[in-house]
Symmetry: C4
């Protein structure tokens, strides 16, 4: 049974207690001074919404259509590497939970489950995420397998030409190869239930189906040093465009200029994202960037937002500023840590319930009913001053 | 005897000590992250006032005329459900205190006292508040009784098509049916004096004159699930307009568009309110909304403000921005918890004394003497940084 | 010997330790939520100054001319009632210290020393402060005595038609008549040295030369209730204008409109002041008001600032925005509490040293060398976030 | 071996533990209320950067050319007096570390090592810093020696016509002559390793090659009182211009007007600096001033920034706003305290790694690839609210 959780914050709190500190900090952490991470949250909190009253909202429709696929609510699961660190079933749990909530699960190429396992377990629409690694054949083989397994769209992460500087991980010795501090080791032993998630060993299963921890570390090193590709350009997108007939979505765009290039290269969608504040710490907040990008793109491709979504009202704010749907990263891992598949279902239910309630309070019936006029003036900073200090 | 209290903050502090935590948090709580709640308070604190000096203010008149009724000060008591939770005499105490202070008491339809009991006990003008429930006959019977009992005006709350998400109540198990945590149960037992307020049982007496706690819970469920009406539209206002000849005041308007609709449907007054931050957490501050609404309405109906009034100067600020009077919700419950009827009288006296003193310091003699020119530039956030952290 | 003190903050800290809490809070407190008090400090901290470099500043002149009197630095001592509460010698110490520093001391009419005693003790220029009490004969007798005693100018406080609501004093029972809490009584006994200051009893000596504590309390009641005059108008200024040939300075102006009236009624100077945040809590910061007033007055009368001056750079900022000089209230009482006359001298020396050092760093030689161009853009709030939290 | 340090903050933390409190506070402290110090840091944190994606950044060039000298990264070491207080090898360690990182070391004239010693130890380009002391012959002899020793450029500090008011030092008794408090003395004894750095005694070796502590104190007094020169004007720059054929760089400019004068007097470079917040506390942030100065100078001389650089991204922000390179003061002392020469090398490596990573994340290959368009909108203050509170 999953513990009582009424909000994403509650789930984060449960995750904090259940996970070893090193894992919890790996999940919640951002780059350097975590400015971009905090900016993501504050950008939502600053925005007010303008309610209509005495509108018949007895029937609401939270569904949206994403590349022709109807999903029950505009909240999708973002690709996150090594999800199994947060919970034994990892991406299997996530994909099943998304399916049960009739929304899209995005599988990270750095999963500890294979493409085929996830496709087999899932009952809903699936997207697959890739990096533009140096060795095209590695990427190609993954893409081919994803196509065969029935994944509907390809998410290409473009904001990781190199990993961001995550200082919590550096402090905790959560690096490749690991350098656990004594404190970290003791803390792990105090979470015996979590230790069970390490059986079978957590590996990058799509890249090496069976691996020992040692091999996993070797792989991680390999990806970081050999595959990672600061030389990737839009030509890689052209190449993928030929390889993949379904929708291609570029993840990690923050400026109108980059969005224009994406459109010019024939992508179908853009995920406006600063990678949850884990890459460039000086990056603007995702929501602030969405506003600019939406004006430039003007409906030519579908827009999505990733970063800072913690409330149903956040999803509505993003929609009002032009996002078709939002992706959640940390929140689904909190759910996974709190209660496995049921925990992730709970996260999606919380957001669905919050969106629905906010629709009723706003006098809106559906996402087609929203536009910029629902967004009011911005709050000043002081209202945020007492917000949950550890909120992520 | 009531304890020494010099300000609304003092009264809140007394209430905090006297009430079980679950009840105190039910009163002070807001929706979700409590942004709208904090915004209400900060909107007042940001505004400065511009004093005149060497004006003869030896005689002041704090009274205002509301729909032709002269009240001694422009502070009225807002409708609050289940007021008896804060103090044994509940709305009886509130109505008597308002009468002693020659101002208006608004009775919630969710009172634990009957319309007739309150009318009988009160010596001053009364308003009655209703929701636009699904079953018009329930509403109609209340309205007919209120008319018969001599209530002067009808307040129609339009911002509760569904209850807001109050996470303090969820955490405390203060839900329907109740799920008290062990902590809550122990805490209640530590407040034996408060436990006495549960005799006779707290019920929704206007809807079921005699009820056991079990029946009350059943009723609450019934209201939440059966009566609550997300289908209500302005047609319900038209219907009420035919039913009720006195003033109709719509409570819960936050935008000029909604105010225009209210005027078009023949209401007599508007209470600009975000329901004390208890409904839509993304809502703007009441005072900020008042400014916009007042410009649009331009005197066609009487305007009131509800939300965040904690000082006499707040009443003056609202008046300068166009409100005929303010309603106080939490403050009168603090008074009730602190000293019953005398406690509520004390709250109104504190505000009267603060308004009067501020008038003298501002060089103003009456509310007709106020206009926008008394409002100065806004403060920045930093002055607020050290404000009483628990202020509500 | 006075303790080591490098700044006004240091002196406040010494005062905090030496004074009973009730007295310390009486001095540092403001009205209601102390917004105006904090705003005074922050208005200075927000402003930046633009330094010149490689200017010969080997010789500086910190003196200014106030109504034709040369004073060694543009920092004067503000009138403060009951100064003896902060230190045994009270206004005698203040007047002597001002004289030793060749600046002006302003004697409050609520002093515990007589006009004649202070005039006798002082070696420097003196101003005398009055209220516009109901009974003109009381005011007149004081003014006649002040003239006879050689006081040069008359300061008329116009922002106390009633006392502000000082909640610290209400909480501490520091009211008329006193209602000391047990905590206050014990705390006073723990400051035996301070108790000595109560011999001879602290009275309003100009109004009743010899008085017991009981009589003092009776007097305070009398002033509050009988003399205080919310009916005072600019006609009182006209009357004083006939009575007093020297400069008349109106203290407590915060708007251009009020400043215009003052000029129209023939005053010679204006002290822009919100009474140290002790009267109208919604008042603007003194420095913000100075900017507006200076533009309106445009040199027709001499302007002064009172409120929030804690650094030499504050004096320079006020001068750049149009103030001839600043008055210090709380700071001189901190000095008095820290070391009597020598403590006040130290306060003035600290400010002189800070002004001088800031002149050198700014590349300015004198106050005639300053104008608006030395003021730079404003800081945002965040730089202030870590400022000494208890700063007053 | 130096301890693990991933960021400048980490190094500061190591320095805090290793140094006696009095020394640590001497290094981190600013003037008066430390507003300018905090403003330096916040000015960087407020600025966002706009990333390009899918740009080939496999090859980056972090080098820049400063007066024709190629340096490996645009981070140079600022002149800091008495560096030996932070670590035994002092400027020798700094100069060697800069040389190993192929960047410029600036030697303070207040060094505890001679010009010749530093020149002999260093393998990289060197600048020499002077004050415009009263006795030109003292300055001239230093300049002649620096020229003979092969120093390439002369940095003339113009913002110290007098020392700023550093209240931490006053509180700790770190003044001339020293007045150590008991607390300070005990604290020093608890850092026996640091006490070793006092052998040989720390002196101003360029001014008096061999000195006892007593003589050093006498010298400090001499410099403060006799040499310091509030009479210095731009004529001193003209005089130096004749004396020194290499580049002359004026350090401590904060306004366009001062920059114009510098250009008019033939300087080659300007270091925009508020002296790390140690001089005029009301000064604007270095980065804010850079923006204004760069617009005025418009490429006529080379611009540099000093103050608040703690991240590689800060260097990029300064470059985008017009700085050729940045100087680091406190950070190199943190490195020195943490691990001597290797510690300083580590500081430069950290910044180089951060600049490089940020270049990759921004899609930029070199500093010539940067302009104002990389700078995005400013953050509000709230993102900064949770930044490391002790960050310097």
């Amino acid at each position: 049974m999953i513990p009582a959780m009424s909000s994403i914050n509650d789930a984060r709190e449960v995750a904090r207690r259940r996970l070893p500190h090193v894992i919890y900090e790996f999940i919640i952490g951002g780059a350097e001074d975590e400015q971009a991470l905090r900016a993501n949250l504050h950008a939502f909190q600053r925005l007010t919404l303008r309610p209509r009253v005495l509108v018949d909202v007895s029937v609401r429709d939270l569904s949206v259509s994403v590349f022709g696929t109807r999903i029950a609510l505009p909240v999708m699961i973002a690709p996150t590497g090594l999800a199994r660190l947060a919970g034994r079933e990892g991406d299997i749990a996530g994909a099943r939970a998304a399916g049960r909530n009739k929304t899209i699960f995005t599988l990270s190429c750095m999963s500890s489950h294979t493409i085929e396992e996830v496709a087999h377990a899932s009952s809903g629409p699936l997207w697959f995420q890739v990096y533009l690694w140096r060795h095209r054949e590695v990427v190609e083989s993954l893409v081919v397998r994803a196509k065969a397994a029935g994944f509907q769209a390809l998410v290409v992460t473009v904001d990781v030409p190199i990993n961001g500087k995550r200082e919590r991980d550096l402090r905790n010795g959560f690096v490749v190869p690991p350098r656990p501090t004594l404190h970290t080791a003791v803390d792990i032993l105090r979470h015996p239930r979590w230790v069970l998630t390490l059986r079978p060993p957590i590996t990058f299963k799509n890249l090496a189906p069976a691996a020992s921890p040692q091999q996993t570390i070797a792989h991680a090193k390999y990806f970081n040093e050999v595959l990672s590709n600061p030389a990737a350009t839009w030509r890689e997108i052209d190449w993928l465009r030929d390889l993949w007939q379904g929708p291609i979505i570029v993840k990690g765009i923050l400026t109108p200029e980059a969005a224009e290039e994406a459109v010019a290269h024939g992508v179908d969608g853009i995920i406006v994202s600063n990678h949850g504040g884990r890459q460039l710490d000086a990056a603007p907040a995702s929501l602030d960037a969405l506003r600019d990008v939406a004006e430039a793109v003007h409906g030519r491709v579908e827009l999505f937002l990733d970063g800072g979504v913690r409330r149903g009202s956040d999803v509505i704010k993003a929609a009002a500023l032009g996002a078709k749907a939002c992706l959640i990263g940390r929140p689904w891992l909190y759910g996974l840590a709190s209660g496995g598949e049921d925990g992730v279902v709970r996260i999606l239910e919380i957001l669905r319930e919050e969106i629905d309630r906010t629709f009723i309070l706003l006098g809106r019936r559906s996402f087609t009913d929203l536009d910029r006029s629902v967004v009011g003036s911005s709050r000043n900073g002081e209202e945020l001053a007492h917000a949950t200090p550890h909120q992520r």
